[in-house]
Each structure stands twice: as structure tokens, then as C-alpha cells.
Amino acid sequence: MLHIVNKSPFENQTLDSCLRVVGNVQGAALLLTEDAVFAATKGSIIEGKIKTAMSTIKVYALWPDVEARGMQDRVIEGIKMVDYGGFVDLVAEHSNCQSWL
């Protein structure tokens, strides 16, 4: 299942909620979009949480949103970058998806 988060982890707990529920689920994937791409950056207090999640689930970030926010040189290694076409592929590859609004 693909989970999509679009909220900054510094502003609210949506990412925490998503990881609480699916952070340990084998086969789950997380796509960070819009303001959630800040969770994909190095050196923040969120980094450890994301890296822990990455040991079980696949984590992706939407590159156009990363770039728009000037975060392109700060992304955590191992987070896969996708463009909108890659976003479409992720939705197609997984049996269903949930946007954590």
C-alpha cells in the first residue's frame, strides 16, 4: 500500500500518525509530497525517525516539491526521488493508496 503525506513534520503530527500505523508494515511505501518533503532532509530532528522507518518501508519524495523548496542538496541518502510520472507509477504499482490529509 502507498501512503502519501503532504504536511511538514514541524507543523503537525500527520507524518508521526502515518508512521505509527504503517511504519512497521512490510511492503508499505511512503511518498512525501508538498511540505512533507522537509521530512526528507538531512540534519533535522526528524531524520532519525525517517531513517528508522526506512529500515522497514520504502520512502520516496517528490523531487519537484524538493526542488521548489530549495532542499535539493539536503536530501537524506536512500530516499528515492520521483517526479510526477514516478508518483503515477507508485500509485499504479501498489494495490491502493491513502493520502494522510
Binding site: R20, A28, L101
Partner: protein, 140 residues
């Protein structure tokens, strides 16, 4: 509430109801508190309409979504309709799968006894499993 809901949804008729006989698993995920924003109320309107399509419908309540189900909502002074009784009416629409995440309740100092409708309280892991089995997940 039923009649008022029909009015609120614009008196939709079901001429366009899907007649293909496909039954999909629909889960409506409620993560927002009522009244602060309109999401909870408009989510409920979708849930009621979905009942007419004979699909396998379930509702999950996580995070602030659990506040939608607490007893004792009195909205007169804010002049907003109290739609919480509608959750009790869902059974009449054959919508009986209401799942509440245990961790969300606990985080908020709530228990099942604080809720106005019968629900199944589940662990995060069980909620995740249930989500993964769905065909369509609509989140609010």
C-alpha cells in the same frame, strides 16, 4: 437526521447508481475533529451516499477523528448543527464496520465508553492491515 442529510446533499437521486454488480472495499478514514473544520461533516455525507451503492463500506477513526464519536456534543451555542447522532444512524444504512484506533483514543485520554456508538477498537497494526486490504481509501 436522514431527511436533513438528503437535503444537505442536494437531493441526490441514484439514477447513476452503478449497476455493474462490482463490490469493492471502501474505507473512509476520518482523522479530523468535528466543527473546527467541515471535513468530518462532509465525510459523513459521502459515507451516507456510499450506502446506496451496496459496497463493502468501513469507517476508520484515527487521530482527532476519534473526537467525532465522543458523547455529549452540544453545539447550540456555536450555532452549528450537531451531526454526531448520525453516527448512530449508520447501522440503519447497513454501515456497521466502525474501527477506532486504540492508540488514538489512549493519546487523548479517551476510552470506548466515551463514544456514542458501538465500534471495534483496534491496534495500529490491525488498522494498517485493514487499510491494506481495501480497494478504495478515501481520507478526510
Amino acid at each position: 437526521m436522514g431527511e436533513e442529510m438528503t437535503e444537505a446533499t442536494g437531493g441526490i437521486d441514484f439514477e447513476d447508481e452503478d449497476a455493474s454488480g462490482v463490490i469493492k472495499k471502501f474505507m473512509f478514514v476520518n482523522r479530523k475533529a468535528p466543527y473546527g473544520t467541515i471535513y468530518a461533516l462532509e465525510a459523513l455525507e459521502v459515507v451516507l451516499i456510499s450506502a446506496a451503492f451496496d459496497q463493502d463500506v468501513s469507517l476508520a477513526f484515527l487521530d482527532d477523528g476519534v473526537y467525532q464519536l465522543v458523547k455529549g456534543q452540544h453545539t447550540k451555542a456555536i450555532d452549528v448543527k450537531n451531526f454526531s447522532p448520525t453516527y448512530r444512524a449508520l447501522e440503519g444504512y447497513d454501515i456497521e464496520k466502525l474501527y477506532v484506533e486504540k492508540e488514538s483514543l489512549e493519546q487523548r485520554g479517551l476510552t470506548e465508553a466515551d463514544l456514542l456508538v458501538d465500534v471495534e477498537v483496534m491496534s495500529s497494526a490491525d488498522i494498517a492491515k485493514m487499510m491494506a486490504e481495501q480497494d478504495v481509501v478515501i481520507s478526510f
